[in-house]
């Protein structure tokens, strides 16, 4: 299945792109997406092992199950206000 990743702020700067589509086995969790990306080597191995995550605009964890077409955002520490 294909999912869509978004990188914001410092994570966007780390990986050099704001978004990326990734193909994962069906039934993957967010953990598999992070592992898959970090395994690609530089610059993706700069992403933390346990980044903040949102799936389809809702806060998520590494255990969150993904589905086809999901939007997964990598969320650095937030600093609104």
């Amino acid at each position: 299945m294909q999912v869509h990743t978004l990188f914001f702020a410092s994570y966007r700067e780390l990986v050099g792109v704001p978004r990326l589509s990734v193909t994962l086995p069906g039934g993957s969790r967010a953990r598999e997406l992070v592992v898959e990306l970090r395994a690609r080597g530089a610059p993706f191995d700069r992403l933390p092992e346990r980044p903040g995550l949102a799936v389809n605009e809702a806060w998520a964890s590494l255990d969150t199950e993904l589905g086809p077409g999901d939007e997964i955002a990598f969320i650095p520490p937030v600093a609104g206000g």
């Binding site: 949102a54 650095p76 609104g80």
Partner: protein
Amino acid sequence: MAVWTHVGPEPIDPAGVLARVGSADDGAVVLFVGIVRNHAEGRSVSGMTYEAYTSMAASELAALASEAAERWQTDRIAVVHRTGALTLGEPSVAIALSTPHRAEGYEASRWIIEAIKERLPIWKHEHFVDGESRWVPGRTPPTPAAS
């Protein structure tokens, strides 16, 4: 009356946000405005760029304002968070609300600004007068309760 929230690049007019609240049932109005200041940790700041995951920030802001509305039993709440490049002295966030009594007004206002800082997917890029810049250190974003 209804809770009003917005996230976007338009300049914030605090008086306009203020005008969205108030009711004949209320005795107290509290407005909080966050502005870009000229110094941070002893260094001179020249400006601040706010990056946001705008669609999610908008829904999180609406959700937290609704939580506040329920908790303090008032739907007279207006909150706006700006995005993009701001100059010194410009408002980055404005929170207006009105309540029957003042204690709950101060409480709700404070709760909302703290929740914004904890829960909105927004990041600040701080520009210093000396030409350097940095991402302002933030807070670990929330994770959902284990299901």
